[in-house]
């Protein structure tokens, strides 16, 4: 089976939370090498040439994101986004709790790469245990002289601050996160300016996902050529895929980007006996479903876009023939209605509107005109908001309404014929 353990190497075998165990396995060697031998531009170049793209969902090339920072403007900040809350995604949760030093080393390398002296990690409020584990790892690293002033005698100072959220999906959106980190409501900002120009405290800021930053460690260790050799033409390297739903062995599986949908389902133990495949949601709750005809598509950014969906954060949910797609759609919509921050009218009102329409269907009181209503409301939400949350409401719903109309038809209110 094509599972490749890079970031996930050692998880479940060794206690990677222990700094001495992590160091015995070669941990913090790249950080030491960076400070002793490499220029920040070397780290940037390795990141850029590897083809690494943002693993938090948007898939934006990481090197390009860094390159948007204006030259010679300081202070600047790196913020590691560990506000993992996209339904179906549970990779950062695992990395944070199981291999916190790898996460930290990634942050240190990223901070050096963009030449900042203060980095932050924003941890989802629910990850209290992960927050404690990471805080301990940071304290151990500080005691070992890996974080602080004049590191390895290089004259380079770097401080890392751990910040805990308090329950809000929208804080995973990078400008919502920055507002939250500034002690404000986690409402996304109007863009531009993008964080690279005016981010945390108005200073140039890079916000990168946990997994993205962690990949910097093996990229420096093995060379950008190694990373770029895996994957597909435009989607390079490896990816942790969080597989859930109707498979026999749900879990996090690290694979080369471009592994097919069919292979991923097999890696997770396949479907349960006697069940048939109905759909996969390949990129978290925000993504449209893909179906049987897409089983041999490679799992990469481009192919998922071609299939009408997206790779997103790598949340891969499998649905078999036991699925009630009407209820699934209601669950999905209810999530967005609940998590909308309320700034933009289309998202705030549209989510609740669709939720009510879907309640009608679940209760067997759907109206034929609701099909039209779903499309109209959906189109009224998409593309008209400050951030992408609103755009995430429609894709799953529309994909299942179009694919399984009979499930919705069977929930229409019984038509009364008058004599």
């Amino acid at each position: 089976m094509p599972v490749t353990k890079v970031l996930t190497a050692g998880i479940g075998e060794a206690d990677l939370r222990d700094i001495s165990v992590y160091r015995q396995r070669g941990g913090y060697k790249q950080w030491e090498r960076a400070l002793r031998e490499l220029k920040p531009s070397d780290v940037f170049e390795a990141c850029d040439k590897s083809g690494l793209r943002g693993r938090g969902g948007a898939g934006f090339p990481t090197g390009r994101k860094w390159s948007f920072l204006p030259k010679d403007v300081y202070p600047r900040y790196l913020v590691c986004n560990c506000d993992e809350a996209e339904p179906g995604t549970f990779k950062d949760h695992m990395l944070l709790e199981e291999t916190p030093h790898l996460v930290l080393e990634g942050i240190l390398l990223g901070a050096y790469g963009i030449q900042c002296h203060h980095a932050f990690i924003y941890i989802r409020g629910e990850f209290k245990r992960g927050y404690e584990i990471f805080s301990k790892a940071l304290a151990d690293a500080r005691a070992a002289g890996l974080v602080g002033k004049n590191l390895f005698g290089s004259g380079y100072d770097l401080e890392v601050t751990v910040h805990r959220g308090a329950g809000a999906y929208i804080c995973g959106e990078e400008t919502g996160l920055l507002n939250s980190l500034e002690g404000k409501r986690g409402e996304p900002r109007l863009k531009p300016p993008f964080p690279a120009i005016a981010g945390l405290y108005g200073a140039p800021t890079v916000v990168n996902n946990v997994e993205t930053l962690a990949y910097l460690v093996p990229i420096l260790e093995r060379g950008w050529e190694w990373f770029a050799a895996a994957g597909t033409e435009r989607s390079k390297g490896y990816k942790i895929v969080s597989i859930s739903g109707h498979v026999q062995k749900p879990g996090n599986y690290e694979v080369a980007v471009g592994t097919t949908i069919r292979e991923l389902i097999e890696i997770a133990g396949g479907l349960r006996p006697g069940r048939t495949f109905m759909a996969v949601q390949p990129g978290g709750q925000s993504s449209a479903c893909i179906f049987e005809e897409h089983l041999d598509f490679p799992y990469d950014y481009e192919s998922m876009a071609k299939a009408g969906s997206m790779m997103g954060s790598g949340a891969f949910t499998v649905f078999d023939d036991t699925t009630d797609f009407v209820k699934a759609a209601l669950n999905s919509i209810r999530f967005y209605a609940h998590e909308s921050c309320g700034q933009c009218t289309p998202c705030r009102e549209g989510g609740h509107w669709l939720e009510r329409v879907l309640h009608r269907f679940v209760e067997g009181r759907g109206l034929r005109s609701d099909f039209e209503m779903i499309k109209r409301v959906g189109h009224t939400i998409t593309g008209l908001n400050l951030c992408a949350l609103g755009d995430s409401i429609e894709p799953f719903l529309l994909s299942v309404v179009n694919r399984f109309p009979e499930q919705f038809e069977s929930r229409l209110v019984r038509e009364v014929t008058t004599a």
């Binding site: 809350a85 339904p87 910040h163 329950g167 404000k184 409501r185 749900p250 949910t317 509107w353």
Partner: protein, 261 residues
Amino acid sequence: MNVTESFDFEALAKELKPRCEALIAQYEQPRSALLPMMHLFQEHQGYVSQEAMEFAAGLLGLSHAVVESTISFYTLFFRKPVGKYMLQVCRGLMCELRGAESIMAYFREKLGIGHLETTDDGLFSYEEVECLAACDRPTCMQVNLEFVYSLTPEMIDEMLAAMRAGTYAIEPLVQTAKPERTWKLRQDSEVARGGKSPGTLSATSPNNAGGVGDPSGVIMLDSFVTKDISFTGRSRERFVRDARGVAEIIEEEGQNGHAGH
């Protein structure tokens, strides 16, 4: 800690002030320490009290309104006392696909309370929450923010029994005041909209009628009704059309002026 009628907030504030100042020192701008400070107070007082927000406002040079507006954005801050065990069960789609609905129904039955409610003895608070990022081990939950995975009815029985007996592995939350039925304030959207557990929604639930898409044209009346109303024997739709009934309630509640929120 025992529930005391008059909690000595001044003493707590004095004790925590140095830690708050250390938090502020971590950031380039003091306001960044607001969330960490409120986590600290909630840990020691069991909830984020008005006094705690007042204290933070003073320390950070913010108005109370700004602090409260910020804190109200975050679901993990409880602005009123909660039970000693905060049971937060995942209602995300991935857990639902693997049986979360029956787990939630079991919890509600065993606890005798619903979503966002606290038991009369102040021991349990129950909430159905969004995806907790543990979809490989459904149905998952958090007890006082510690994960519990792959729930079964047997596990729930054992868990609740151990909590009642005071032998459960996860520490109870600090409780410094007796909790009410819910820790949510009226203006919190989910309560204002009549939020109910997914399993208990029915044609007569306030979440359904009176919405923007309601063909009857009755829009969001919930926000004007500040009193919990039992719709026993009368459907909500009939109720909202009963202008007299509504007028009575608005009249009765008029003093409170909740319509202005």
